[in-house]
């Protein structure tokens, strides 16, 4: 019993280590539009849709809509202020792609480097179709 209690004590002490923030963070408050929605619901919907398809640069498996990284907050601020200024969501995406490459966007586009991703599946489906068709014909 004592051993179990001691074990639990050690585990509790260890868990504190993991709860403490492991990474240095800045002390500035978040950007004005990092967590504040736009007052116009239509604009906010546009901003939200765009933010869900932009990659967080610091935490690359999340969108900037999902991330609490300060840099993601600053990117949301950029998106919301640009949408509020009347900019087109795709123009904002293009602005980011100009700076970080295709990688920053979760909405894939056909480009010089990405075209095989679109062409190869089509080729495979086509090939499978041909094989299937020849077998059906051979049987029939």
């Amino acid at each position: 019993m004592m051993a179990i209690l001691r074990m639990l004590g050690i585990l509790a002490a260890l868990s504190i280590l993991f709860v403490l923030p492991s990474r240095a963070q800045d002390s500035l408050p978040p950007a004005p539009f990092a967590y504040t929605q736009l007052s116009d619901p239509e604009q906010e919907a546009k901003a939200q849709a765009l933010m869900e398809t932009l990659r967080c640069l610091k935490c690359q498996s999340q969108s900037i809509a999902d991330s609490d990284a300060p840099m993601a907050g600053d990117m949301r601020h950029q998106v919301r202020t640009r949408i509020a200024a009347g900019e087109d969501p795709e123009a904002i995406r293009a602005w980011l792609v100009d700076r970080y490459g295709d990688y920053v966007s979760y909405a894939p586009v056909v480009s010089e480097t990405t075209w095989p991703l679109f062409v190869i599946p089509l080729l495979i489906v086509l090939l499978a179709g041909i094989v299937l068709w020849r077998r059906m014909r051979a049987r029939g």
Binding site: A24, A31, Q78, R99
Partner: protein, 175 residues
């Protein structure tokens, strides 16, 4: 149909496994490189990040002299690690200007007092606006800017002792 064609799917599968295994054994490249190399710095005019160094604006890069633009923050640990290397570059006559990301003047001053101040100018980028404009995805990063304000090279992560001579060469190349 010839016999050997039976082996084609297996061979393809083996090829796929070899490719996947090779990719899995390689360390993942976490860096997102800027695609702004060869392009001009954006128009910006930042306030001074600390009391004892002047502010930073685009016009400060247009004097015909190449320099380093260091993106740092007082809250960033590797930024402290690269301080001796920046100091070494400064002693070699390199002009280093900086953008402090999401930082308070007091924190910047304390950081520089502790780790040294190799910068001739420091601008404060409170909303990461300049950082996003130049395609930088974290701190620290160091850009080589030529005398016309064109971004010529990006170094991601802290400057290690071995990178000092490489950066000196890059600066010499754009002179």
């Amino acid at each position: 149909m010839k016999r050997w064609t039976l082996w084609v799917p297996l061979a393809l599968f083996a090829l796929f496994c070899a490719f996947a295994g090779w990719q899995l054994s390689r360390p993942k490249d976490e860096f997102v490189e800027s695609t702004m190399i060869g392009k001009a710095l954006p128009e910006f005019d930042l306030r001074a990040a600390t009391a004892d160094r002047p502010a930073l604006a685009t016009r400060d890069f247009l004097d015909g002299k190449p320099r380093l633009l260091n993106v740092f923050a007082s809250w960033c640990v590797p930024c402290a690690a690269e301080a001796p290397q920046l100091e070494a570059l400064r002693r070699r006559g390199v002009d280093i200007v900086a953008v402090a990301i999401r930082d308070r003047p007091d924190d910047v001053a304390a950081f520089l007092a502790r780790y040294g101040n190799p910068y001739s100018r420091i601008g404060a980028d409170d909303l990461s606006e300049v950082q996003l404009e130049i395609g930088s995805s974290g701190v620290p990063e160091t850009f080589v800017i030529d005398g016309k304000g064109i971004i010529r090279y990006q170094h991601i992560g802290d400057i290690r002792p071995g990178d000092v001579s490489m950066l000196l060469t890059k600066l010499e190349d754009v002179r």
